[in-house]
Amino acid sequence: MIAHHPSDDLLLRAAAGTLDAGAAIVVGAHLESCSACRTHVRAFESVGGAMLESIEPALMAPEALARTLAMIDTPPVARSAAPTRLPRPELPSGVNWPRSLADCAVSRWHWMGPGMRWSRVTVPHTTDANVFLLRIGAGKALANHTHSGLELTHVMCGSFHDGRALFAAGDFDAADGSVHHQPVLESGGECICLASVEGRLVFDSAIARMIGSLVGI
């Protein structure tokens, strides 16, 4: 049972197509696992449809229709052979990659401490998306930290408690500078989170800062 969902604002922006690339990936991963939020996004999309109907039409160039009719005769460019397989590190059995990562390269798991690994997600067509995976062993804790920008998290598997609430598979979290937390893993098993950060992470300890710089955030 998913307990934590993206805000209306994020769902509306997902429907409007105005989320930045990193946020779109994390919110997208949540939507894949949450039919309630998919329903809301569809409702917001029909607001977009109604908007299209009621908008004052713009003027198209006089030759636009003729040009378009000429183009529909041209067959679509054939897909170049088989799509190249983007690198993916291994996942625990039973855990699947969100489809929102389909166009992204995902690095191998990097060690960042006992029972803690991370992986960089490379988002195509963008240079400022800070997207990564954290893979933390059961019972471990992250450094106490706050956020300089908005951090969005989707729990792919496992669960953690950060002093505010329990987050489990499928849950979504948005944390900004007002949140100062220390996620602690539950004992059930390792936890993998997909996260996107707007600003630079601010950790409390020097070691964590070093890890932060290793993670490149």
Binding site: D8, A16, T18, T39, V41, R42, V47, M51, L52, A64
Partner: protein, 194 residues
Amino acid sequence: MPSGDELIELVRAVALASDRGAFAVLFKHFAPRIKAYLVRAGTASELAEELAQETMIAVWRKAALFDPARAQLSTWVFTIARNLRVDALRRRHDAQADGSMDSNANPDAEPLVQAVHDAPQPDEQLAGARREAAVRRALQQLAPEQLQILWLSFYDEQSHARIASELDVPLGTVKSRIRLAVGHLRRLLQGTEP
């Protein structure tokens, strides 16, 4: 102006018979609206014109995939235009970042929200059209000012700032009015859910 049912018949004619006359009517109805939406969302007029044409080409090619039981036609067209806009923004960002042409672009790649659309759960599929009708009814109950402010959320931040200066209210006020309108819409929809 063709009615909603007429437009759906036109899409069917495109899907079943590659009817160019039907496509021309659809083009005249939708292309100027798509362009208007894209321009309001901050797209330069020339690119908006190009993307409106690309959207209509996608309508031609995907006409057989349109299912009136799942979504209203204008909503389906909106999602195509939105996805093309997002792609175009990313490609432009790429070109600006390294001055090179985009080498990874896959014109057939389906952006995320569309991908989610293509694989609806059976219950979601059945409820799609009914739910959309509920949204349209709820929108009719919103005050014109609230509807106006809701449209704004489909345009980019820059437009928000422009509207704020036009209305002579702070940017935060525009944003909070959007939140209020969304909340109102949500409450109206909750009343209609089973």
